[in-house]
């Protein structure tokens, strides 16, 4: 069981070291998942800019997929992907 610190040992004023959101997996919140089609994708990064959870994976200057550990399935990426490109589509999450 997790050992929780008492008030004398906890960091003062509710501060947390940076980057803890990475350790908190929010992927299981999804009811829909974005599916990325690399053949259609033009790597314009509009999805990357708009993703509120930094869940668009970019490598060597190209969008290569979705970080499903953190993507909450909000659908912003699919909506913002230019209509002529439509490289991201939302599909029902399989339970």
């Amino acid at each position: 069981m997790e050992k929780k610190l008492g008030w004398k040992n906890l960091p003062q004023n509710d501060i947390l070291e940076a980057g803890t959101a990475k350790d908190f997996k929010t992927g299981d919140w999804r009811s829909q998942r974005p599916v990325h089609n690399p053949e259609k994708c033009i790597s314009c990064f509009i999805c990357w800019i708009n993703c509120p959870d930094s869940a668009i994976i970019v490598k060597d200057g190209k969008v290569i997929g979705i970080d499903y550990d953190h993507c909450k399935g909000c659908g912003i990426c699919a909506r913002e992907c230019p209509p002529k490109v439509s490289a991201i589509t939302m599909e029902p999450e399989k339970k």
């Binding site: 008030w7 906890l10 003062q12 004023n13 509710d14 501060i15 070291e17 940076a18 980057g19 803890t20």
Partner: protein, 389 residues
Amino acid sequence: MKVAKTGNEAMAEAMRQINPDVVAAYPITPATEIVMIFSQFVADGLVDTEYLAAESEHSAMSACIGSSEAGARVMTSTSSQGLALMYEMLYVASGLRLPIIVAEVNRALSSPINIHGDHSDTMGARDSGWIQIFSENSQEAYDNLIQAVCIAEKARLPVMVSTDGFIISHCMEVIDMISDGEVKKFVGEYKPERYLLDIKRPYSCGALDLQDYYFEHKRQEAEAMINSKNIILGVAAEFEKSFGRKYGFFEEYRLSDADVAIVCLGSTAGTTKFVVDKMRQHGIKVGLLKPRIYRPFPYAEIAKVLSKVKSIAVLDRSDTFSSYAGPLFTEITSCLYTAGVNVKAVNYIYGLGGRDIGIENIEYVFKELLKISEGKYAANIVNYLGVRE
């Protein structure tokens, strides 16, 4: 240097000398002129402050919180409804343990509409985790504001320094100002342990804190308030050493041999001192206890100094509408009870909405107290002083 200043000017001058990094404010009624005067200092290039005019007091305090968390020394000023509108953010400031300073002018709360001097606004914030310092006059307001910077930064708690609306804020008195250089030296440079703009040591703050941690953080806040008592005394001692004026948790005025005493906050203490001197000339042993620090409340210390008098009257310039008594009365009687001090105590609620309290009112209270201490008279515990029946 002796200069004639209004209470507002005295506070604004202190802010100029402190030269905070950021001042965010909404300087429109019911706020007094403090920030207006200060904004002139900014425009004239007399300070290095980033001045931000927000669209409300809620936003002003929010901007203060953001700036303070970023690592800035932050001040603002407000009054009455303005402080009330900050209410939500006051708790955020103290919960995040940010040393923000508010120059607060005590003014009544609506409704009915009234912006004159009473303590309703400041008392409304008494449980918000802010250190609260009451000032009797412009000199104390000035001195308290300078000390507040050191107290806040050492205690890692926000501080509000208050004066009484109009009675002090708009009246001119002679104050002894400290030189710019000496104030600068006294407040020193603000060096926060952690701050958001420190990109080498990034952190998150204000995160969700649920059933399993919130309580521990609030316990830390309570401890910080307990620890601030020694800090307040330490800063006062340092101030006295540097500038000669003595401050503590409270001021005892001819109290050591008094039979009866009045306990009151702020400017009314000045009137009470006058009456004490007058009655003492007739050989009547009356005295005054003027709490300066309302949060943290010096329970044990006050019980000790009040243990020798026969009866006390606590004067409250605000009401709690609890069907009982004013806020100062409940604090004072609580500390007497827990210290086992059995002194007869009565409460007078007075001066709401800026209603004048004159020497005749204070004399009346002392005379009632003398009757009570002789056991001749059973007064009501809670009384309204100066209200038309």
